[in-house]
């Protein structure tokens, strides 16, 4: 999902100064099992805190980097209405990034640190945003498939055991649901349009289908951190469960649009009531996560240059604030 990198163990983790006792851990788990929300000031195991910081910050970074592929079509949106809707959507993503950084800050990490980790390449963001948006239909496909996949994961996160994250997700999900509908509506308009427009929609589905399935992360058998996250009720469903749910819903929507899902082995299994699909190209997934996707360098270069080019602006704002503070004190 937006936090696929979680399946890798974190590095440079600071050892907890106070050893955690079995009683503390049991009491914490009992609160989780009783579906109590954990709040910022509550005691929590260090590993729970670290997992959440990684997950929430990766989610925030994904929102910020995710603005780039869609931003790529803002100046070329084909009608003023589409332009306004896309802009509102990209603005929502910046807003999601802001709530999520704030939610992560409740766990004792600063936004500056999180941003530094993103810019240095230490922190990850969702692999999906390393694919290019080559046509207008890609904006439809991103809303329909990428936001659709994100919602599958994020609706259960509204019940996540960590209160500030769960509450942020309630608001995020409302907006994501609108994003998903607008994406599908772009696809529908294209599919009901000219032959050229329908071909654009088909091409976008062809390129975004497999990367969308990769958003759910590795298969359960290869997802080392999942069990602990499930026990802590940070995660409620496994990667494969969510991926299957996504395929079952989305294939029917593709049929409705009259588009072909690019998988020759795709077939409905009457016995299980689910669609069967081909194995994902995991080599591609790991390559993109490792930084070798089509747009990794481009996305990071743009984020870094925005940050570096803005250094003088941040310094000016600080200097001005210092002068005003000095005047007020005088």
């Amino acid at each position: 999902m937006y936090t696929q990198g979680l399946d890798k163990a974190g590095k440079n983790e600071v050892a907890n100064a106070d050893p955690e006792t079995a009683e503390q851990l049991e009491a914490f788990q009992a609160r989780i099992d009783a579906e109590e929300k954990i709040e910022a000031k509550d005691w929590m195991p260090e590993a729970y805190r670290r997992t959440l910081i990684r997950q929430i910050s990766q989610h925030a970074h994904s929102e910020i980097i995710g603005m780039q592929p869609e931003g790529n079509w803002l100046t070329r949106a084909p009608s003023l209405k589409r332009k306004a809707i896309l802009l509102a959507k990209v603005q929502d993503e910046a807003g999601h990034g802001l709530y999520l950084y704030s939610a992560a800050e409740t766990l004792g990490v600063s936004r500056d640190q999180m941003v530094a980790d993103l810019l240095s390449g230490k922190a990850k963001y969702s692999s999906i945003f390393n694919y290019p948006t080559l046509g207008w239909a890609d904006i439809g496909a991103i809303g329909w498939l990428v936001d659709g996949a994100a919602i599958m994961n994020q609706i259960p996160l509204c019940r996540c055991s960590y209160g500030p994250y769960a509450r942020a997700m309630v608001r995020v999900c409302k907006e994501e649901s609108f994003h998903q509908r607008q994406g599908f509506e772009i696809m529908l308009t294209l599919c009901r349009g000219t032959a050229e427009q329908k071909a654009m929609a088909q091409d976008a589905l062809k390129r975004f289908w497999w990367p969308s399935l990769m958003m759910f992360g590795p298969n359960d058998s290869n997802s080392t951190h999942s069990a602990q996250s499930m026990a802590w009720k940070i995660k409620r469903f496994s990667n494969d469960e969510l991926r299957q749910k996504f395929v079952d819903i989305t294939v029917r929507q593709a049929d409705f649009l009259g588009l072909r899902v690019p998988d020759d082995k795709l077939a409905f299994n009457d016995a299980t009531g689910h669609y069967e699909f081909s194995e994902i190209d995991w080599q591609e997934f790991f390559d993109v996560l490792a930084g070798n996707g089509p747009c990794n360098s481009q996305r990071m270069a743009k984020r870094r240059s925005a940050h570096e080019d803005g250094a003088w602006v941040r310094e000016a704002a600080r200097a001005y604030a210092d002068k005003r503070a000095a005047q007020a004190a005088a």
Binding site: L80, H307, G310
Partner: protein, 252 residues
Amino acid sequence: MTPEQHLTAYILRLGDNALVLGQRMLELVAAYPELEEELANANFALDYIGQARMFYSYAGELEGAGRSEDDFAYFRPEHEFKNLLLVEQPNGHFGDTIVRQVLFDVYYLGLLEALTRCSDQRLAEIAARAEKEVRYHLRHSAQWLVRLGDGTEESHRKAQRSLDGLWRFTGEMFAADALDEAVLASFGGPNLADIAADWQKDISTIVDEATLSIPQETHMASGGKQGMHTEHFGYLVAEMQSLPRTYPGATW
């Protein structure tokens, strides 16, 4: 031209300013150094695009030839856009964009305030809505200009250069042409001489607070209001119109 035709052309010009400035701001999305500014830029750009849609839709109705907001945005050649040269200038750095916003928004706010009192009710209503938005934009941009001017030596130098560089595009705002005069006479539209006087006073206040200086440049560029643009503008139009021009007749 009849008074209604003058009004239609005048409203289209308002739409052009809003659209072109909004389009320039869109180019900056996902490139801001701070998340809060990212949100502000997207939010303000959305307001300008929204204003352009209202102006264009109303102009289309007045014209009565069946042209939609998209026909005005996507199917007119460069020289039919009558926006000010100031709003089409390339983004440059953060200081350039802030100076452009301040110079334009002080003028635009004055214009919108005057339009809320014009005799065309629909235009007055659109102006009243836009005025609330622009008042907020201006507060934000003016605060930034003060921070940049009175921040570090580097930011002061950059902000002053931005102001010097864009100053020559401000004269055009107040050079009343036949359209401005017709809308003033027939609909009680803005009197640009009054707006110029307020603009000079307000800009001086902001520039003083920012510890910057009013540029001494006296030569003023013009032409935008007549459809004679700077070289940068053709690219903006070509990019914006590329899809509908490539696939004419398609619905998006």
